[in-house]
Amino acid sequence: MEKPSTFQVGKFRLADMETEDLSPRGVREQLNTLQADAVVAGRRSAAPLWYLTAQALCCAVFVLSFSFGRWEAMGFASAGVALCLLGMLRPVITGTRADPWAYRRSLKVGAVLAAFLLVMLGAGMFALGPGSPPAVPAAAALLTFGVTLALGIRMERAFSRSVTDAA
């Protein structure tokens, strides 16, 4: 059998059969394709808007529950279970187990979101109750929903950028 001829690519010596698209131009095209795929990967790994809205709604219901009186446990439990379910379903919805909490950029935004929710929880524990004027828990819930949604969207964008930029 005839021995394949070899080909020099930089400091590498390869057999002809391996080199069909290893010219600098061909390699550049391959790397450009990978970069285009990276942008697609970043976009596809982010959770959809309805998911983030559902998360924000759960957090708002949780804060609102402080004003439910004897039904507050029901409110806490429902919101908590729904949030857990959303977390479990995320890989099924996005099709990947890539996680925003695992990337520095999105983790920073997530930390701000977590701090905000802790503040709202504290406000709920000490400032909200069944006797509160209705406008107060409503405003707290609305604020929780708005900020959670906004930071959630920001977190997903940071996550997408991190996935696109990762090697």
Binding site: K11, E18, V27, Q30, A167
Partner: protein
């Protein structure tokens, strides 16, 4: 920037397999349908390439939950596959004169310094 030894890998070198490895390196465990839709290849084509990579020990295939109770196939690069992919990308970058390091998130690729 992490310096990786450039190493041509014939299995990773195929156009579709290279893109599959790239997606999995970025996303971790990923569903078959997401790979297929993102890379715009057919089911049989993707299945064939995933099988080749699995047989070489470069990735693991597993059945997992999908929507509406359906079972989906999930693919994930093994450490061997990740190393092969990193080495091959470093090789490609070396071919076009870029530094063979793998840029960390946020870094841009560095051109290779010219010899003095």
């Amino acid at each position: 920037m992490t310096r990786v030894e450039p190493r041509f890998d014939e299995l990773v070198h195929g156009a579709v397999r290279l893109r599959v490895c790239s997606m999995l390196a970025r996303l971790g465990s990923t569903e078959f349908a997401l790979l297929r839709d993102s890379l715009k290849v057919s089911d049989p084509t993707l299945s064939k390439h995933l099988k080749h990579l699995e047989q070489a020990g470069y990735l693991q295939l597993a059945k997992g939950p999908g929507l509406a109770g359906r079972t989906r196939t999930w693919a994930e690069l093994t450490a061997k596959g990740q190393a092969a992919f990193d080495g091959h990308v470093a090789f490609l970058r070396e071919v076009i004169g870029l530094d063979a390091g793998i840029p960390q998130p946020g870094e841009s690729p560095q051109p290779r310094p010219s010899p003095k």
